[in-house]
């Protein structure tokens, strides 16, 4: 089943064409990594896909529900009620976690399911406990974000996203704000999720991790997809730009 | 927001014709002894307040004492918050076309008050000295107007303006100013309090008259008050109260006409 489909996505900031005719689709259970130099447009693509940024043209579909369709070369967004439903399809894990500092760990995870999805409190609390256990954070329910390490905060934010029971998860450079010794614990959590066949799109600079965990790797540069395919393209890139990027990266 | 404001205004503002009060509202400056001030028991008193009480008694009016902000006294009168300004008001400076003014009840000279040890004995001694006035009083206006030439000789070329008499006295006491230009009644009152620490110069800088100010249309009210006032002059209340509050007898101009 196709979860996400992006067709001919275009986005410009002033004179700067950040995304130029990007098409990408993600099947259920697939893990897609997006790599590329900074400024290549990969974060903008993620923000367009998660409706944090509006695209100028192209199509965006989740489970065949159209969030954005193209009319006369311009992007037309679905009505707010439909977008609200579509937002329930995905979760997003931010580079800077963006936990709510005034909420305890438990409330960070449980408020949206109770408030937005109107689910039963007991059920949500039980699920949150379960998720925290999975994240190795049992017993930290009542802690506040400032009392946690960066790695722990990021795990809470993954739990927060998962509590919404999304069809897929986006990760926006989930380890970039972490000390190198803490990145491992986050990568392990994502690996575990991949093993459970969670559908994920990950923007990352962790090349070996991307190769190991992904079903598909997308290399972006200058607002276009330069190369796309099986994770082996990281070891054996065919495009000249990809080769150059990976060479620089290895150094 | 605009709606809320409009609603509040409609609620709080009432549409009224000219003021028609049941009670007689006397507007006064609560800091103007011995005419109008707060007495030792915490109630307002003073020569003007006691006279007004007697006037209202005679006329069978109910009296409401309304302490006002002296700076906006005429606006307060215009608006009908008070029916008259009766508080050692120098009527010479008020436009008789715009307001109804009573016959003066006190002739009030503007004097110079100084410390006994200041060595100042004449107006010409004030050259180069610091002289304080209460902002907006007749002494202040005088030193900017008719007596500007005198003010030019002061230190700084003008009088030091202070918000109230208390500040003037405090500064005089502290030596921050050398003299105060002030109404005779107030000066005499201060000398009575402090004995011979302070003296008044023999020369006055101006002679002015105190009266009661009403709205222009209230001529009838003014007349009634004047008549009642004259009765109090005749039965001796006027002089008795003047003595009680330590007013200078020479200021009692109604008494003089009476004597003739």
């Amino acid at each position: 089943m196709r979860i996400l489909e992006i067709n001919h996505c275009r986005k410009r900031f002033g004179e700067n064409q950040v995304l130029n005719d990007i098409s990408l689709s993600v099947e259920e259970g697939q893990v897609v990594s997006i790599i590329g130099p900074s400024g290549s447009g990969k974060s903008t693509l993620l923000r367009c896909a998660t409706l944090l940024e509006t695209m100028d043209g192209g199509e965006l579909k989740y489970l065949d529900r159209a969030a954005v369709r193209e009319e006369n070369g311009r992007a037309v967004y679905a009505p707010p009620a439909e977008l609200k439903k579509i937002r329930q399809c995905f979760g997003l894990v931010f580079q800077n976690f963006n936990l709510f500092p005034h909420y305890s760990v438990l409330r960070n995870i449980t408020e949206a399911p109770i408030l937005v999805q109107k689910r039963k409190k007991e059920e949500v609390y039980a699920q949150a406990k379960e998720l925290l256990k999975k994240m190795g954070l049992s017993g930290r329910e009542d802690a506040y974000p400032y009392q946690l390490s960066g790695g722990q905060q990021q795990r809470v934010s993954i739990a927060r996203a998962l509590a919404m029971q999304p069809k897929m998860l986006f990760f926006d450079e989930p380890t970039s704000a972490l000390d190198p010794e803490l990145t491992g614990e986050i990568l392990k959590v994502i690996r575990d999720l991949a093993a459970e066949k969670m559908t994920m799109v990950i923007v990352t600079h962790e090349m070996s991790f991307a190769r190991d965990v992904s079903d598909q790797v997308v290399f972006m540069d200058g607002g276009v997809i330069v190369e796309q395919g099986a994770p082996e393209i990281i070891s054996n890139p065919t495009q000249e730009r990809t080769i150059r990027f990976l060479k620089n990266f290895a150094r | 927001m605009k709606k809320m404001l409009a609603m509040a205004l409609v609620l709080m503002l009432t549409l009224t014709a000219a003021a028609c009060a049941e009670t007689f509202k006397m507007g006064f400056d609560a800091e103007y002894p011995p005419y109008t001030y707060m007495g030792d028991d915490g109630e307002y008193t003073g020569f003007d307040i006691e006279m007004c009480k007697k006037v209202c008694e005679k006329l069978g009016w109910e009296l409401e004492l309304v302490p006002i902000n002296w700076d906006t006294k005429l606006m307060t009168l215009d608006m009908g918050e008070i029916d008259c300004i009766w508080s050692g008001l120098t009527i010479d400076v008020i436009d008789p076309e715009a307001y109804c003014l009573s016959t003066p009840y006190s002739d009030n000279s503007q004097m110079i008050l100084t410390r006994a040890d200041s060595g100042i004995t004449t107006l010409s001694d004030l050259a180069g000295k610091k002289v304080a006035v209460q902002l907006g009083t007749s002494a202040d206006l005088l030193l900017q107007g008719d007596q500007k030439a005198l003010a030019d000789t002061f230190d700084g070329g003008e009088a030091v303006k202070l918000p109230n008499y208390n500040d003037c006295f405090a500064q005089l006491e502290a030596g921050a100013v050398d003299a105060i230009a002030i109404d005779i009644g107030v000066a005499a009152n201060k000398i009575a309090v402090y004995g011979d620490e302070y003296v008044m110069l023999d020369e006055s800088i101006a002679s002015e008259k105190y009266g009661i100010c009403f709205r222009a249309e209230d001529t009838e009210m003014c007349k009634q008050v004047e008549d009642a006032y004259m009765e109090l002059v005749q039965d001796g209340t006027y002089q008795a109260l003047a003595e009680e509050f330590g007013l200078d007898v020479s200021a009692l101009c109604l008494l003089e006409t009476e004597g003739e």
Binding site: N98, P101 | M1, K2, L13, M38, G39, D41, T72
Partner: protein
Amino acid sequence: MAKMSLGTMILKMSEGLGTTCGIFFLTLLFSLPLGLVVTLLRRSRLGVVRGITKVYISIMRGTPLMLQLMVVYYGPFYLSKWISKTFDVTFRLRWSGDVLVPIIIGFVLNYAAYFAEIYRSGIESIPAGQYEAAQVLGYSRPQTFLRIVLPQVVKRVLPSVTNEVITLVKDTSLAFTLGCMEMFTLGKSIANSQSKFTPFVIAGVFYYVFNALVAFVMARLERRLNYYR
């Protein structure tokens, strides 16, 4: 000659303290929420609304409170007088009832503008990531504001609000502009008739104790919000 007993002075000034407290509490009661409304209007999507709010704030901050009190109080009367004269009709608008009403309105309009600017700086200091996280989780705009942004704003603006509240305590003496005999004005008239400095000392003590209480309450509030950073 100074014969008023200390007891009478304190008693008399305490009467005025009631008025002072009334002005203080009523002003806070209305201006704290009104400030929030003003901030939201200031951030409105409608340019006209934003513009009007900006002008309102700049007038309130750019002119003395004393003048604003006079405009609130005398404005309607002189305006109606002018209209009567110009259009040959007879009507007069003036405040009826307690003078505290226009005083409170003047104070509230002024303080709401200051609070609005404090709130605005607080709202603008909340990182965009908080809004984005709430949006992705499906919070509606009001939910995001009330549950995510506002509580954090309260914590951030509390020190500035405390400053403003302490200023308000001292500003209450401006009520005399409209002839209201609050504590300080009563003290002044006692000082004047008694030729004594004592009433000012009493006034100073009253203000100081009042502000010490305010500071204490605000410090407790700040501590209560210290459970997170």
